[in-house]
């Protein structure tokens, strides 16, 4: 269990790498990409860079850090050698730095910028593909059983490898023929946004409410058929989306299956149980609950976009990434860190600023969406509100950054290498007397 504290390095790196990410966003405004003033090719490369630097970069570091810390505890084996997390971390960080550097050269030296972007993306994809080895090791050890003990190893392998490959393919075919680039862009969005962030949201929520808080989220029926149903929903979504991006089909419902896995996850998490337990004043992570509650809203917006708009479910995916993915991941990470600090559950600090500003930002986004699409006047035509969702998002991210910088630099005096609850997960006894503290 030597690597249980490794998440601190990952979280610190994630917090620091946000600076690079924000610098990239500022550069987008500076180059006029956000206002649509830049060349379409440059805008495409820039958008790809931002998505990779965020989704597979500093956000993924939080997920990977948690994974590397939790796997040895959950499986009671060390499925990787000590150097693996370090290499994953540094190669990923190096890749993000290179993507940041490529952004600097985007206007003046496009060719060089593209090559540096490719180097950075290769590094990031390699770092993610490396984590598949952990899951492979678990599979070789015969640890197929997973849901109670953590993420399913087989799916982790597949997802890590697929994400690495699809990202590389999408970048390498960016300048290929229109049909090919449309297809690869489709599989990039499918795996890197839909499947990745739905899976992360689901794993985090199930891990938090089901395993950590021991709320009866998964009933016998749901655990028996639910995962098969989820796999089926994913399979339908994948098939239909591949068909859509292959140009085989132009049916009116072609984008609707996006909501199938999302709603399956929502119902698998038993929202009634979550609300009942939350209302009974039990301790839980607020961002995590908010993440689950965004799911039906995203499904509604996705239905409207799929039926009446030709936006490629832009708003639904934006909300999925920030509302479900980031919120659940950050909620899980903060709770896990508090486990390492052995804080009693009823006495845990909630990241209120992050929670309010992020959800405020998302609500403004939804309001804008309704105003623009349904032409309902909710906030009037005040131009000051135009950038408010982004400003609040910035506040949320800065608060996340500040939270971790404070925690990691000034608040580790009560930190323990072994987290409460997890070290006794396989034992009947409770040496930390966590239950007493609860």
């Amino acid at each position: 269990m030597g690597s249980v504290g490794i998440y601190l390095d990952f979280y610190l790196a994630s917090a620091v790498m946000q600076f690079v990410f924000w610098a990239m966003l500022i550069l987008r405004y500076y180059f006029g990409i956000e206002e649509g003033g830049a060349d379409a090719g440059i805008a495409k490369i820039s958008t790809f860079s931002v998505i990779v630097a965020m989704g597979l970069g500093w956000l993924m570091l939080v997920a990977l850090g948690t994974g590397f810390s939790l796997w040895p505890v959950l499986y009671k084996v060390t499925p990787f050698s000590p150097s693996l997390p370090r290499v994953v971390l540094w190669v990923n960080v190096l890749g993000q730095c290179l993507i940041g550097i490529s952004h600097l050269m985007l206007i003046e030296h496009l060719e060089t910028a593209t090559q540096v972007l490719l180097i950075g993306t290769t590094m990031i994809c390699f770092s993610i593909a490396l984590t598949a080895t952990v899951a492979l090791k678990l599979l070789r050890m015969g640890l197929y059983r997973s849901i109670d003990d953590g993420g399913p190893p087989f799916i982790t392998v597949i997802l890590c490898l697929i994400i690495s490959v699809t990202t590389m393919v999408a970048l390498l075919t960016m300048n290929a023929s229109k049909e090919l680039s449309f297809f690869t862009e489709g599989i990039f969005i499918l795996f890197n946004i839909d499947l990745l962030w739905m899976s992360i949201g689901f794993t985090c929520a199930l891990g938090h409410f089901g395993r950590r808080l021991e709320w009866p989220v998964l009933g016998p029926l749901r655990s028996k058929f639910g995962f098969k149903l989820l796999l089926l929903a994913f399979a339908i979504h994948i098939t239909v989306m591949l068909a859509d991006h292959s140009g085989w089909n132009h049916l009116w419902w072609i984008q609707l299956p996006f909501i199938l896995p999302l709603l399956t996850i929502f119902f698998l998490l038993s929202p009634a149980t979550l609300v009942r337990n939350a209302l009974s004043s039990r301790s839980y992570s607020r961002p995590m609950l908010a993440a689950v509650m965004w799911m039906p809203v995203i499904a509604l917006i996705a239905v409207y976009e799929a039926l009446y708009m030709n936006s490629g479910l832009e708003s639904a995916r934006y909300l999925l990434l920030f509302g479900v993915g980031i919120q659940s991941l950050f909620g899980f990470a903060i709770w896990y860190h508090q486990d390492h600090k052995h804080q009693p559950m009823h006495d845990r600090r909630q990241p209120w600023l992050f929670l309010i500003s992020l959800n405020g930002s998302l609500l403004f986004h939804v309001t804008h969406f309704i105003q623009e699409t349904l032409e309902w006047t909710i906030l009037g035509n005040h131009h000051i509100l135009d950038g408010l969702d982004l400003a609040l998002l910035l506040v949320a991210m800065v608060s996340w950054l500040a939270w971790w910088l404070w925690e990691l630099l000034f608040s580790l005096h009560d930190w323990h290498r072994l987290p409460m609850f997890y070290t006794t997960i396989h034992e009947a006894d409770d040496p930390y007397e966590v239950k007493g503290a609860d």
């Binding site: 990787f80 150097s83 593209t114 090559q115 390498l172």
Partner: protein, 434 residues
């Protein structure tokens, strides 16, 4: 992997060299076939894009299959030599995976015969190859810190070379991004092929003759001084290349730093000491001895080419593909024999490889005589050189594939000599055999 005190056992990776050698032999075969078929299929295109293909070939050779042998030796022997537990199985497997995928990626992309595509997609292969050198930065630093002070009289400068690898990785990436600039290609060539590979070759000579065979051709301090000289000369060579190509220093004599580097590598291995022992019929690797002897040719050719105002590419190819390949594979053969616990006088020499490569060097020299205007060389000299090298290398890769997959004899994870180099006891009783 972990000892009883829960520390990494520094000997756990012994025997891991086989994976690297298998990868190297396999990729050597792919390289020969790939480049050979590609060249035959589209010779005109190769000629038109000679400088780019040469750059790719240097990367494939020095960072690809030669890089795999270097890492095999490093991972297998350095923990014994320096009593260091600097890395674990993840790094080792990662390097093999990066090495193979990087080479395959780069070779596949050359078959498009499209410069634009090669420049764009080749980046993936180059990044993977560079990463294999970059990820060893931690272990390299650890080995450097763990190096045995006075205990390892013959440790030489083996710990400095792994430290240079991450730098080479970064330089390879930068040079690829700016590959269209001649200066970038020249600097990469000066650093990787001229300086780094020559130093690696010298390390093979010292490691074999001085440490392994204990021929006492230099003390630890003299080898460290030798490394310092190589460092200074190499730095002058790289700076000189830069100065010449930017027009800051136009004296052509600066180019003689290349034969000077070769000469230091030749003399630094103490040919007098080597030949005294060879003539005394003490067992040694014929491949490494031949590699050492062929350096003279590289020196003479480099001087001729520079004098004629030509790029010393023939000399460079003799040094990298001839001397380098023979020295590294010679060391590899010997190391494998140590793992097979073969008595020294029964060590395998790889004669077909030695003859093939020596013929290749001979024909290469013959072809170059035409270029530098000494005599009219036959037209077939270049083809004969290529064919001899392909036969030699082909034999080698098939032999290694056979040996690693279907080896019949004795094999031990802990190699003889290295396993007990710091112990007075001699459990294998090799002292008697020698």
């Amino acid at each position: 992997m972990w000892d009883l005190r829960e520390r990494l056992d520094h000997r756990w990776a012994a025997g891991s060299y086989l994976d690297f050698f298998l990868a190297s032999a396999m990729m050597l075969l792919v390289f020969i076939l790939g480049i050979g078929i590609g060249f035959q299929y589209n010779q005109v295109w190769y000629e038109e894009n000679k400088e780019l293909m040469q750059h790719i070939a240097y990367m494939l050779v020095a960072m690809g299959w030669m890089g795999a042998i270097m890492m095999a030796i490093g991972f297998d022997l350095l923990p014994f030599i320096h009593q260091s537990e600097s890395y674990d199985v993840s790094i080792l497997r990662m390097c093999i995976a990066l090495n193979i995928t990087g080479q395959i990626g780069l070779i596949i992309v050359t078959f498009t015969f499209d410069r634009e595509i090669i420049l764009a997609y080749g980046t993936v292969g180059v990044t993977l190859l560079a990463l294999q050198f970059i990820v060893v930065v931690g272990p390299s630093w650890q080995v450097f810190k763990d190096r045995i002070g006075n205990r390892a009289e013959a440790s030489g400068f083996g710990t400095f070379l792994p430290l240079m690898m991450p730098l080479i990785g970064v330089v390879a990436l930068v040079s690829w991004v700016t590959v269209e600039a001649e200066l970038s290609r020249e600097l990469f060539k000066a650093l990787l092929v001229d300086f780094f590979m020559t130093t690696v070759i010298l390390a093979m000579f010292i490691g074999h003759f001085n440490r392994r065979l204990e021929w006492d051709i230099g003390s630890k301090y003299s080898t460290q001084r030798l490394f310092l000289i190589m460092m200074i000369l190499g730095t002058i060579h790289v700076i000189g290349t830069w100065a010449q190509h930017t027009g800051r220093f136009t004296d052509p004599r600066i180019e003689y730093t290349l034969p000077l580097l070769y000469a230091v590598a030749f003399l630094g291995a103490r040919p007098d000491g080597i030949w005294r022992n060879v003539l005394a019929k003490r067992p040694h690797s014929q491949l490494i001895l031949a590699a050492h002897a062929w350096i003279i040719t590289a020196i003479v050719m480099a001087m001729f080419e520079i004098r004629q105002g030509l790029e010393p590419n023939h000399a460079r190819h003799v040094m990298l593909l001839g001397v380098g390949t023979m020295a590294l594979w010679g060391f590899a053969f010997w190391m494998h024999d140590d793992h097979c616990h073969l008595p020294l006088d029964r060590g395998r020499s790889g004669w077909p490889f030695l003859i093939g490569m020596s013929l290749a060097i001979g024909f290469n020299v013959l072809a170059s005589l035409d270029i530098i205007g000494v005599l009219n060389a036959p037209d077939w000299a270049n083809s004969a050189s290529l064919l001899s090298a392909m036969i030699g290398m082909g034999y080698l890769s098939v032999w290694w594939l056979w040996e690693t997959l279907f080896h019949q004899g004795e094999w031990h994870r802990i190699p003889m000599y290295y396993g007990n180099m710091y112990e007075d006891a001699d459990p294998y009783e090799f002292a008697d055999e020698e």
